[in-house]
Symmetry: C2
Subunit: 190 residues, 2 copies
């Protein structure tokens, strides 16, 4: 997706060979017009798949997910990273380890919002090693729902998340695929 | 806003005289079409005010904020509730106590995304005692930016958040004002 790659070139910051900072337009400050384009692109790629729900994870997945949900006409559920007092009953729970933060967190969604009748599109801001995606898949499978595929804003193609997910048969659509961050530069795959 | 009140009547759950659960369409599962209407309404109310940025707080504020930002054509910044490794430098920090969760958390935004030239619209999903709103105001003032006002999806008018904010001169626009939750029923103010 050219508009996204251009934004990454202009406003992304390479912090190391592993870390691309996009807090100027995606995961701290958000560009709503770009998110609308991102949502439109996800909708285009999954429009024929009979998606009934979108599942993402707080907080950075919400903006792209809500724009895709608007265009596909389906609700968006965001997995929470901790339990709150008003959300305690009938939780589906999974664990995810964050390499960035070096912490393990529990993620949860309320069981009542997903059923075996649902066909789910998973959306997230980043795909790196696939741990967050795998935890979301785990939650969706606990609900008995099926998975249409994944929509990723930025894929770090030099990590093994895509391979891991594709090996298990999941469709992965990434709007920007980063081949490497070497030399402080963003090199895209295509 | 009638569509919002109707949704609260249909899908909201009164858990106690203090707690209204809206996790079916606002703060866990999200209705994107309703959020678009909510964003439109915020934009209508603040369109003439010269807003340059929207500031909200993760996670439930993001969906209404991004829709308002899309319509006003301005970026959205969401305050984070904890520091991450990729967001450590030049943080503006404030504290907020959550009665729901009975915990104090630190919220932060990156100083580089807000300046004295900004005129900010604050958006959040709930206004109760005003603690979260006050912490956001504190962050914005640390940046030297000015405040156009607040846009609240659901106001608990039986708590003193609005009074506190209005006493300090802030404009508060709430799309649904809940007068009471007594008897397990949602009673709106108007």
């Amino acid at each position: 997706m050219e508009a996204l790659k251009q934004k990454i070139r202009e406003m992304g910051t390479v912090l190391s060979d592993q870390v691309l900072k996009v807090d100027a337009f995606l995961n701290h400050q958000i560009d709503p017009a770009l998110m609308q384009k991102v949502g439109h692109e996800f909708a285009e790629r999954y429009r024929a798949q009979g998606v009934t729900k979108i599942v993402t994870i707080e907080a950075s997945g919400i903006a792209p997910a809500i724009m895709a949900g608007l265009e596909l006409g389906v609700p968006v559920i965001f997995a929470r990273k901790f339990q709150s007092l008003t959300l305690k009953s009938e939780l589906l729970i999974s664990k995810v380890f964050s390499f960035t933060k070096q912490t393990e967190s529990t993620i949860a969604i309320s069981a009542k919002h997903l059923s075996a009748a649902d066909h789910v599109l998973i959306i997230d801001d980043f795909l790196a090693n696939g741990h967050a995606a795998k935890a979301l898949i785990d939650l969706i499978q606990q609900a008995g729902a099926s998975i249409a595929g994944l929509g990723i804003v930025i894929e770090k193609s030099f990590q093994d998340g895509r391979k891991l997910l594709e090996n298990e048969g999941y469709r992965v659509e990434s709007l920007a695929r980063v081949a490497s961050l070497e030399g402080g530069q963003v090199h895209f795959l295509d």
